[in-house]
């Protein structure tokens, strides 16, 4: 009964959400309110208002590039792929962390768009922030498959790791992360704790944890099981609500914590046990 009610609410809400998202706010021009400051020159921040013409398909990045090309060439932006793949163009758009190339002007209400640098990242200039610390947190998680049973140098005994589609599904979505930092910018714990690895890094720890080719489970668990580690996540869910790639970092973090607490089945251990039973 209650499951059905929840399902009904879910379909209704999702439909409303989709309609809201797909509703076009048609306009022919917008005013970009751009955050400006060159920090190394010691400038105080201010906003520049720049009017640019837009079409239905114009993204915020398109609009910014138009402004840069025709109005003020000194605007600092970072971008590369223009197709939500490289993760360079993250910025706060109307107060929420988003990819500029993945946000259409027509999905935003009003005719003024405020663009600011991502919060929680050290600010460099205009819309550009410093990702050094963010990448360092990612690196801390040893983001690569490590298998102690394999020896890459012994080429004659190299074997293939068979992975079933089910094995793949356990980690695939987490491997879609483009390291854009939107989740890091939305997280309320990152907002106050510089040592907290953040949603991106923690969900990458889960990505390798749940990969059955990887054997560095204990090592990675020891890294996240820290005073400033995984326990500082309080499931505010904001990371998952801003992630543009469907990574759902909050899911990865809670599942990893479930394993640390011994709440969840450990697929790797079960597989190992079955192997051993077969052998004996």
């Amino acid at each position: 009964m209650s499951e059905q009610i929840i399902e009904k609410i879910e379909t209704l809400e999702k439909k409303r959400d989709r309609e809201k998202k797909e509703k076009e706010h048609v306009k022919t021009s917008v005013v970009l309110k751009v955050f400006r400051a060159n920090r190394s020159a010691g400038e105080n921040p201010h906003f520049d208002s720049i009017e640019v013409p837009v079409q239905r398909w114009t993204t915020v990045l398109d609009a910014l590039l138009h402004a840069k090309q025709y109005k003020d060439s000194s605007i600092g932006i970072r971008y590369s792929c223009r197709m939500a793949s490289c993760g360079s163009c993250g910025m706060k758009i109307n107060g929420i962390p988003r990819l500029a190339c993945y946000t259409k002007v027509s999905e935003l209400e009003g005719s003024t768009i405020t663009v600011e640098p991502l919060a929680n990242f050290p600010h460099l200039r205009d819309l550009v922030t410093d990702f050094t610390q963010f990448f360092a947190h990612h690196k801390e998680m040893k983001p690569y498959v490590r298998n102690d049973d394999s020896d890459m140098k012994q080429t004659d005994s190299l074997t293939e790791y068979v992975q079933s589609p089910e094995d793949l599904d356990r980690f695939l979505q987490f491997s879609y992360c483009i390291k854009c930092g939107l989740c890091y910018s939305a997280c309320p714990t990152v907002a106050t704790d510089t040592k907290f690895p953040g949603p991106q890094a923690l969900s990458q720890a889960y990505r390798y944890f749940s990969d059955n080719r990887d054997t560095a489970t204990k090592e990675r668990m020891d890294i996240v099981d820290d005073k400033h580690g995984i326990w500082r996540c309080h499931f505010a869910g904001s990371c998952s609500s801003v992630c543009p790639k469907g990574v759902d970092p909050a899911l990865g973090i809670q599942l990893l914590r479930g394993h640390l607490l011994g709440f969840s089945r450990n697929e790797k251990k079960i597989a190992e046990k079955q192997e051993r039973l077969k052998r004996d």
Partner: protein, 147 residues
């Protein structure tokens, strides 16, 4: 001269204060913290209140008088609401934060709805809010109902 903290650009406590930008889960986070701290304050005040008994029945009676004022009633009403929300939502969070009731990883597909922000979780938050409201209504009817 700019402060280094400006450049660092962390949202700080300000990041906690506005729960409206990111959906129900952020509201839950904010309320759980607010009610947790509120209950802690009540807990300390409560110990102080009941400890007055050691100074004899008169001190105790004087302390009880304080809670019989409209403001005292209002504070008790708030405590009823806070404790109901905090414990109901707290029980949900114990499961959630242990990875239960969140759904399974799968193949992401546009528009990329995150499974962890599902409606079983959201309805848990709503139920906690509704129960807190009901408890406060009942509390109000007892406290302000008169005899």
């Amino acid at each position: 001269m700019e402060k280094l903290s400006d450049r660092n650009n962390r949202e700080g406590i300000k990041g906690w204060l506005n729960p409206s930008r990111y959906g129900w889960e952020r509201v839950s986070y904010w309320l759980q913290r607010l009610t947790g701290v509120g209950l802690l304050a009540y807990f300390v005040a409560h110990i102080f209140e009941t400890s007055s008994l050691t100074q004899g029945p008169d001190a105790w009676a004087a302390m009880l008088e304080l809670t019989q004022t409209p403001l005292g009633h209002l504070i008790l009403l708030l405590v009823i609401g806070m404790s109901t929300f905090h414990s109901v939502n707290g029980i949900r969070l114990i499961f959630t934060q242990g990875g239960k009731g969140l759904g399974n990883p799968g193949r992401p597909d546009y528009p990329y709805d995150a499974v962890s922000l599902n409606y079983r979780q959201k309805s848990g938050i709503w139920i906690a809010l509704i129960l807190a409201g009901v408890a406060m209504l009942y509390g109000a009817s007892v406290l302000f109902g008169g005899e």
